[in-house]
């Protein structure tokens, strides 16, 4: 059945979208470029005005030079980090959803689990990082887990808050239709929670890189975090900033991709 009904909305969607996507792509690209220029300008200004020594804040030009000179190394490590982030996001997302569902479906679980959950979050991932390294080794697994851990709580909270604030009328209606708990979740609570969940995902996408990089700091032999630490240890501050730059680009790209997907998923919200 769902195949049949799911096909229908397509006919109205183009109409809906017609108004929304007024903004052509090149405009937002232009905006990005200008933003970037402004950031760089500010950065240079700080360097000049505060007479920043280059071992604290190098000038953007030095960083840019480094970026070009070392682009191969940077991309290689960037790719590793990107993998860690994306896999971490997937893992954290599914764990967060699962946890939220569990708290929702089994009220008692929530009461017992929540303090545990908060405690687990309150412990900075850094503190348990050595344990993770011991258990999962110095490879990619431990970083994925770090990234997942750091986004786990935002996802769980937003998802749970979203799921439990479904308008009661919807729930009542579904109840009279004989919806099982699971069907209620799937067809009513989940779609109704999507907007709040979307906030959670946006947050997650932006903080997941922190987890991955933090993981690399504790132990790794590749990735942008490793590169940054190494550069820092060697006083190659411009290289460190070049790595930071790649990381930022990665995050921004991820954010906008996620944002686009989320907007497609939730067309009924403005």
């Amino acid at each position: 059945m769902s195949e049949l009904t799911r096909v229908e909305p397509i006919t109205v969607d183009p109409l809906l979208r017609e108004v929304k996507s007024k903004q052509p792509l090149y405009k937002s690209l232009l905006r990005m470029l200008v933003s970037a220029a402004v950031i760089i300008g500010l950065w240079q200004a700080v360097v000049v005005i505060f007479e920043m020594p280059s071992f604290i804040l190098p000038s953007p030009f030095a960083v840019f030079e480094r970026l070009i000179e070392r682009h191969q190394v940077l991309f290689k490590h960037g790719w590793v980090t990107a993998q860690e982030i994306i896999l971490g996001l997937l893992l954290g997302l599914s764990m967060g959803l699962l946890f939220a569902l569990q708290m929702l479906l089994f009220k008692p679980v929530k009461r017992w689990l929540l303090p545990l959950l908060i405690a687990s979050q309150a412990i900075p991932v850094f503190a348990i990082a050595p344990l993770l390294m011991l258990w999962l080794g110095y490879g990619i697994a431990s970083k994925i887990v770090m990234a997942a851990l750091i986004i786990f709580f935002p996802i769980t909270t937003c998802c749970f808050d979203g799921l439990r604030s479904t308008p009661s009328g919807y729930l009542e209606l579904a109840k009279t239709m004989g919806a099982t708990k699971w069907q209620m979740l799937r067809h009513i609570q989940f779609p109704a929670a999507l907007p709040t969940l979307a906030s959670g995902i946006r947050v997650a996408v932006v903080i997941a890189p922190i987890g991955a990089v933090a993981g690399e700091w504790v132990g790794s032999s590749e990735g942008l975090g490793y590169l940054m630490l190494q550069a820092n240890a060697r006083m190659l501050i411009d290289e460190m900033f070049a790595a930071l730059f790649i990381l930022s680009v990665l995050s921004i790209t991820l954010y906008f991709v996620a944002d686009k997907c989320l907007k497609k998923l939730i067309p009924w919200e403005a």
């Binding site: 109205v12 919807y170 009542e172 009279t176 004989g178 099982t180 109704a192 009924w268």
Partner: protein
């Protein structure tokens, strides 16, 4: 087995409900809403309930639909005959249209097919889609099947909710002011439609329109007083849906009188 079940429900869908000495109070308020409420809802017939705004009609209906269990104090008996778990026997149409904003009109109509024991063979699905389309056409929204709720007018939303109700096939139908947002002609037609489609169901209809009530009621109650109790009014012997005649007019006068009186 699914065929079996349907046959069974086809034979068995005559459920009558008796409410004896009903008492209802919301936990979060000191006011008693209903007290000494006695209502007989006969099987395969339309029971219409009228009453002052705020007297407790929706509360009663929601209680019958098992939606207030943990939010009210209830005393009194609710008996169904044959005895059954009323939970699985009821279709409920709320006072608000409650369309899901993420589903199109058609998908909203088909919402109930997503729930309950899943016997969704491809064929059955197809049947349901056809049925939903047919219902949408009957409520005058053939060309709006793919509109989202936000793109529909108030009356259209109510009609989608009505179609959603009519798609379900349970022996008891509870409807809370299902025609309130419709113009006179549409209302008249949809009354006929509902009458026709719900002929062998046990229907409880809440309405504010005395004419509507008289037109459709096999059993007519008016809720009065604070806390409210229900008084049965005698309806004309003619078959529903009734046309306007002298007896009709007289009953209408009686109803207005009762409502007026409740106001003092």
């Amino acid at each position: 087995m699914s065929v079996d079940k349907q046959l069974l429900s086809g034979q068995n869908n005559a459920v009558s409900i008796d409410i004896v000495d009903g008492y209802l109070r919301y936990h979060d308020s000191a006011d008693v809403i209903l007290a000494r409420l006695n209502i007989h809802i006969p099987a395969r017939a339309w029971t219409c309930i009228l009453g002052r705004s705020g007297c407790g009609k929706s509360s009663l209906l929601r209680y019958l639909a098992n939606l207030l269990e943990d939010r009210v104090d209830w005393a009194g008996e609710v008996n169904t005959r044959p005895p059954c778990d009323s939970k699985d026997q009821i279709t409920y149409m709320a006072q608000q249209d409650l369309l899901m904003p993420w589903l199109s009109a058609l998908e909203n109509v088909m919402l109930s097919t997503k729930f309950g024991a899943a016997h969704s063979s491809a064929k059955r699905t197809h049947l349901m889609v056809d049925k939903a389309h047919a219902l949408l056409q009957k409520v005058g929204l053939k060309d709006k099947a793919n509109y989202m709720p936000q793109q529909l007018s108030g009356g259209m939303r109510q009609r989608v909710a009505l179609a959603r109700t009519l798609l379900q096939d349970k022996p008891i139908i509870l409807m809370d002011e299902p025609f309130s947002a419709l113009d006179a002609v549409t209302r008249y037609r949809l009354q006929n439609l509902a009458y026709q489609l719900l002929q062998d169901k046990t229907v409880v209809l809440i309405t504010h329109d005395p004419q509507e009530a008289i037109r459709l009621a096999d059993q007519l109650y008016i809720m009065q007083g604070r806390p409210a109790f229900a008084e049965s009014l005698i309806v004309p012997k003619s078959v529903t849906p009734r046309n306007f005649d002298a007896e009709f007019a007289e009953l209408q006068q009686t109803i207005m009188g009762r409502l007026e009186q409740d106001y003092e």
